[in-house]
């Protein structure tokens, strides 16, 4: 009987963690939407929205698109990180491993330096980034594919190879850029939500929804996968289908995230880790938990990035690394024995 009690307790603990995170998300969104040059008390937000009181314009046109976008991007990056960690069976895998981040970065820098940031209006840059990110991932997949099968190790190595190619391209563009291009390039590569508008939100949200749905459906198969690919097959998982959906979902979400907000590191690595330390490794809990946790983390990081040196803004990628690094280190030291590297 004790076994049942402890299993039940563990399930309850996970449910509790998930519910807490889900409860914290709207709170963090409201707090972040309220803070800024024009202060709005979070609990007054519904009232302001309903009666169109003072601050309505700030909330609707400035704060909400930005906060919602940062939540979506955080969710996409974190769930992608958790998924790739499961596929590669390595808790240190990063959503950039399959080339989509570097590819998108390359697309963006090519666009800024060779074509000019202004072409095609606000859409040129994100489309170039998204397209190039997807293209590089398709390249990684095709290189790793052999007679309809993809070996995980080859996928990883092809990812590393194309990542370094894309990195070289980004370096070359940086070298060729003039001062102004260099500035927008750097800012883009470090990531930020300064350009958030409803248009961007409306394009990003459906992609996020599809991606999160696709990825969270792979959770049970990823559990079996953590024992190894052939073990997963013996447990009834169609491993090729799993890999295809996982890479598709990750390319889609990370491509969209990077296009909307530039390269934001650390979210995809640190959030799944935190979830595992809190409630164990079951992907059916880690994937949704990472999505919500990533959203909260990035909403908070963006709030920090636009308030700490106001009226200027720090790139949010610096903030995630700045908070994430020491936090991760603390986790490692505290739970040393339970973390497997």
């Amino acid at each position: 009987m004790t076994l049942f009690v402890s299993v039940l307790r563990k399930m309850q603990k996970r449910t509790k963690i998930l519910l807490t995170l889900i409860g914290l998300l709207p709170i963090s969104i409201c707090v972040a939407a309220g803070i800024g040059a024009y202060q709005i008390l979070p609990w007054r937000i519904p009232e302001i929205l309903f009666f169109r009181e003072d601050g309505f314009a700030v909330l609707v046109h400035v704060r909400f698109p930005r906060v919602i976008l940062s939540a979506a991007v955080g969710a996409m990056l974190a769930i992608s990180g958790a998924t790739l960690q499961g596929i590669f069976r390595n808790p240190l895998a990063d959503p950039g491993l399959i080339g989509v981040t570097a590819g998108a970065g390359l697309g963006a820098t090519l666009w800024i330096v060779l074509i000019g940031g202004g072409a095609l209006g606000v859409w040129g840059l994100p489309i170039a980034a998204f397209g190039c990110g997807i293209l590089v991932t398709i390249g990684v997949w095709k290189i790793a594919e052999e007679q309809g099968r993809v070996r995980t190790l080859t996928l990883l190595l092809a990812g590393i190879a194309l990542n370094s190619f894309a990195g070289a391209g980004i370096g070359l563009m940086t070298f060729l850029a003039d001062d102004e291009q260099l500035r927008s390039l750097t800012f883009w590569l470090l990531g930020g939500f300064g350009g958030a508008t409803w248009h961007v939100v409306f394009v990003t949200l459906p992609i996020a929804a599809i991606g999160l749905l696709v990825l969270s459906r792979q959770a049970a198969a990823l559990n079996a996968m953590s024992l190894g690919e052939s073990e997963a097959y013996h447990l009834g998982v169609s491993t090729e289908t799993l890999k295809r959906w996982a890479v598709f979902g990750v390319a889609l979400t990370v491509g969209a995230a990077v296009s909307a907000a530039g390269g934001i590191g650390f979210v995809g690595l640190v959030v799944p880790h935190l979830l595992r330390l809190l409630g164990g490794a079951d992907h059916r809990y880690v994937l949704p938990g990472s999505a919500v946790g990533g959203a909260i983390l990035l909403v908070s990081a963006d709030l920090f990035s636009r308030t700490v040196v106001a009226p200027a803004e720090l790139p949010v990628g610096i903030v995630t690394a700045l908070i994430g690094g020491p936090f991760f280190l603390w986790l490692l030291l505290k739970f040393k024995r339970e973390v497997f590297l």
Binding site: K10, A220, S230, Y233, H234, G236, G280, A281, D282
Partner: protein
């Protein structure tokens, strides 16, 4: 239960196994014996459906093995791997519950699944570390947990790749007794095994492989003969008769 017809498997120009013709009856315990690199694991992986044979055909319940869906197949046969590694902090019980994956369709485990897993852990005397993190277990403990996992999978056919590795004599005997019980319950067990005496004690039928080619096939007293063993392993053997009736095999010190 399973028929292998002219089965061969080749990588490049090397045949890892070839000319395998075996019919395995329901409820028997088969041992696959032979030196390192003889193709024992390859043969098991072919039977499991993981590898596609280059030549010939493998039929499980009269249906070619590659015609099964992975999930359907996973309810019929389970496979115990030789080496395993896990980088995530799953508990032992969670690992055992993975055995229920082919039955779940993405839903949560029920109380029944939990009961099955618990019973399997008890059968391999591993229930006391159900709550421990799997990566912290010793090699022998992890082996027993893996066996509990495939018991939880509740298949008709068990494919075991050296299940007694890393185990002390008590747990070796315990696992093979378990295999015997499973067979008496109408299930079929095929196990690769290095220990010829354990194979002799427990197996109903043996298949002796050398460089992928079957040397002998049949009950232990037919397979474990002095000539065949010396030819296969390239060293002299002593073959005695154990008081209980089965062949008792020792490598011989006499090298002449």
């Amino acid at each position: 239960m399973i028929e292998l017809e002219e089965v061969g498997y080749r990588i490049g120009k090397n045949w890892l196994v070839r000319d395998i013709n075996v019919t395995i009856e329901k409820g028997t315990l088969w041992g696959i014996v032979g030196p390192n690199g003889a193709g024992k694991s390859t043969l098991l992986r072919l039977i499991s459906g993981e590898l596609l044979p280059t030549t010939g055909e493998i039929r499980l319940l009269d249906k070619p093995i590659h015609k099964y869906e992975p999930k359907e197949l996973a309810r019929l046969r389970a496979y115990l791997q030789q080496k395993r590694d896990l980088n995530f902090p799953f508990t032992t019980l969670e690992i055992v519950l993975f055995g229920r994956h082919p039955y779940l369709n993405g839903t949560k485990e029920t109380t029944t699944d939990l009961l099955i897993a618990k019973e399997a852990l008890r059968q391999v005397e591993a229930d006391m570390f159900a709550e421990r993190l799997y990566p912290t277990l010793s090699g022998g403990e992890a082996s027993r947990v893996d066996i509990a996992r495939i018991l939880t999978q509740a298949p008709d056919l068990f494919l075991l790749d050296e299940p007694t590795n890393h185990l002390d004599p008590r747990h070796q005997v315990q696992i093979l007794n378990l295999c015997k019980t499973v067979c008496d319950g109408g299930k079929t067990v095929i196990t690769a095994i290095h220990d010829l005496n354990l194979a002799s004690m427990y197996a109903d039928q043996l298949l002796l492989l050398k460089e992928g080619i079957p040397i002998a096939c049949g009950p232990p007293e037919v397979v474990l003969t002095l000539d065949q063993l010396s030819e296969t392993y390239g060293i002299p053997f002593e073959v005695l008769s154990h008081p209980d009736g089965y062949p008792w095999v020792m490598p011989s010190l006499n090298t002449s």
